[in-house]
Amino acid sequence: MFCLSELEDTVRVPPSDLNLPLEVAIKKALQKLFLDKVLSIGLCVSIYGIKSIEGGFVLPGDGAATYKVVFRIVVFRPFVGEVIAAKFKESDSNGLRLTLGFFEDVYVPAPLIPTPNRCEPDPYNRNQMRWVWKYGDDEFIIDDSCQQIKFRVENISYPPVPTERAEDAKPFAPMVVTGTIDDDGLGPVSWWEACAPISDAED
């Protein structure tokens, strides 16, 4: 789900950092610019390394030094068809929302939850809806108690920044991953534990 990307950018090192070794100062500036931000290629997770630094000019009227830097970053960008383990975050009538800790915008829309299913108001939590899968005579609930939920990536989208928003709208998500849990081995891990694994269980 991660890959490396090479970027080239102009970086401004503020005067307060000019006493630091050059690479440390540039890395600090890069982290501020890119870490935890979504680019067109995905979510930047970490600065991998700097390949080259050029310049160091001080532009008129500015106390900072400007460098042209070529560097590599670690990007979170799952590929379509990848299976990822996530945790339950919340659910509503449109579907489920899962989280990876560092990335919280994974949505499983209602059509991608195994059928037959039904959605009912959550008895524990007044505002939430709960999804229940009916398989044969058993009913399986999808909620907070599921330790890990595996989903397969269907699509990644980068919605454009909205110009106007309602007051109580959900915080804007610059990167949205749509997943499915409607297949063998997907969905809460506990659903599949009955299937015999090749035993490496410690006894």
Partner: protein, 149 residues
């Protein structure tokens, strides 16, 4: 902010490699996290926490390289090998969603699972989940939970 993307994809990384990178920067399970916070930021720690709960946390560079070498004999796509390393499936039902059209390609599922068993270390034991929620145990299966204080 204009930036020029030189290469959008300069190489895929397994979860293990990213975890290794964070480890080499000083990330650790230490809950106070004071020492490493100079080099590892809070958002990087979130990634670290996530990865520590996956198969990547018990893997070694050696086992991952050996595994991907031996996979060449199974006619798998690179993305599938990556996915298998990241998830470490231990049963048929865990492996099938990763593969694309396994029936048409005559993939040796048993062989791949045996190789995973042999070369990739087992998943980390899951710590007991919060409050009173406990994982359901099937008959005869031992719950493997450790509470850490």
């Amino acid at each position: 902010m204009k930036n020029i993307i030189v290469k959008a994809n300069a190489g895929a990384l397994t979860n293990f490699e990213v975890l290794d990178l964070l480890n080499s920067r000083g990330a650790s399970k230490d809950t106070t996290r004071v020492i490493a916070s100079e080099t590892v930021s809070r958002s990087e720690y979130k990634v670290y926490d996530y990865l520590m709960e996956t198969a990547a946390s018990t893997q070694t560079r050696d086992s991952v390289t050996k595994f991907s070498d031996k996979c060449k004999g199974f006619k798998l796509a690179k993305a599938e090998i990556l996915n298998i390393i990241n998830l470490r499936p231990s049963s048929d039902v865990e492996l099938t969603p990763i593969l694309e059209k396994p029936d048409e390609r005559e993939i040796d599922i048993e062989g791949i699972l045996a190789l995973v068993q042999e070369l990739l270390p087992p998943l980390p034991t899951v710590e007991a989940h919060k409050e009173n929620e406990q994982e359901e145990t099937e008959d005869g299966e031992q719950p493997n939970m450790e509470t850490s204080v």
